[in-house]
Symmetry: C2
Subunit: 215 residues, 2 copies
DNA sequence: TGATTTTTGTACCGTATGGTAGGAAAATGG
DNA sequence: CCATTTTCCTACCATACGGTACAAAAATCA
């Protein structure tokens, strides 16, 4: 439990910072950074603009905090989904199931992934956002890689499998699920892609053991 | 060649419509739809705002025309890269090489794919953009599928391979390349991912022939 | 209770934005 | 040469935007 802080001196806040950040994140997630106005953020959080500014800084600082919060959430979700008890196949399947549900959620329609759908957009013109997005995506690569390496070391994959590269391909499945969700793909298609992705990764063989060679 | 039209009645245009559209597209591509102002578009094309409006309609109509132009360009590029002469492996490799070069190009840094990086962002709140983006992405799926089916029918892949699904996975590689390029991944990483993707797709086996099974 | 601290909420500021009116400019047609 | 047609360009408009000044409100502290 979070320690109950001793009562502070002045007028108490009318909002919960964590909840407000989550609501602001939802607004950015729907419309993207540039299309989300301070009025939108004010409406989403129930805070007026001066309070918003006092709590999180300007719009860009708030967005960077949203990315950071999303990174933390995603990392926790991956640790929870990528169970090390069962097979790699099961772990990946469960993670993709949860990701699909997340990507399809949203008040105004399927939102995909915050990083790939809104941060990547700003990444060209804003180096800070670019760095934050890249770091968060690489954390996801790394979580996949660790689980895949564990699977390889426990005979879910052949010795020749390359966990680093397969981890990046596992992320690629997330990326395509995000983009397709956001552009209106039905759930069944996303599930089929996730299933095929799992098969491809878990059926992966190293370059030496391939049977179907180039002609 | 395009037919030289008979001289029109009034004052001649000071711009080439196709070139102006390409320049406007480049502006949208860099910053995204919402972050690109009419002043940006005016500067990019050299046209002033009334001319821009007269030629392409409002900002949103211009963006939809940019998506349409990108769709056409992408389709032509795929037909050109996905050579049917050589092996599937070679065809995919060449296509990804060209895609990587495209995604890394851009005056302000790597831009990725216009559809996945800017249209997907707007897709949640704008049904027209969503439909346009989805249709364009599905065309890319279909182009991959056709080439993969041809490869399967010519023994580049086993009979059990599913061209429709492998086509979507081939697109997934493009999606991840786009996102990673835009968030600052180095060329070597993109090339490695593309190479591994080709191996995974071309080494694909059907569900019955898998060797490494779930334990 | 009164001084102090912190947050809230209204009202406002300068600028940027998307879009347009209206006349000058540059071509053709007769 | 002048009417007609089409485009260009300056100047402008109403609104939306990000951000802030300032006073009222609500708590603690002594």
């Amino acid at each position: 439990m979070v320690q109950k802080e001793r009562a502070r001196r002045g007028r108490p806040r009318a909002y919960d910072p964590d909840q407000a950040l989550a609501q602001a994140t939802a607004a950015f997630w729907d419309a993207g950074y540039s299309a989300t106005s301070l009025d939108d953020l004010s409406a989403a959080t129930g805070m007026n603009r001066p309070s918003l500014y006092g709590a999180f800084g300007d719009k860009r600082a708030l967005y960077l905090k949203s990315i950071e919060g999303y990174r933390t959430m995603a990392q926790a979700a991956m640790q929870k989904s990528l169970r090390y008890e069962g097979s790699l196949r099961e772990a990946l399947g469960e993670l993709y199931d949860r990701a699909i549900s997340l990507y399809l959620s949203g008040e105004h329609g399927a939102r995909g992934c915050l990083l790939t759908s809104t941060a990547a957009t700003e990444a060209v013109m804003d180096p800070d956002i670019r760095r934050a997005a890249r770091a968060a995506l690489e954390e996801i690569d790394a979580a996949f890689e660790a689980r895949i390496r564990y699977g390889r070391d426990h005979r879910d994959l052949p010795r020749s499998a390359d966990p680093a590269m397969l981890g990046k391909l596992a992320s690629a499945i997330l990326h395509t699920l995000s983009i397709r969700a956001r552009t209106g793909a039905p759930r069944a298609l996303l599930e089929a892609i996730a299933g095929s992705g799992v098969e491809l990764i878990c059926g992966a063989v190293g370059p030496r053991r391939r049977k179907i060679a180039a002609r």
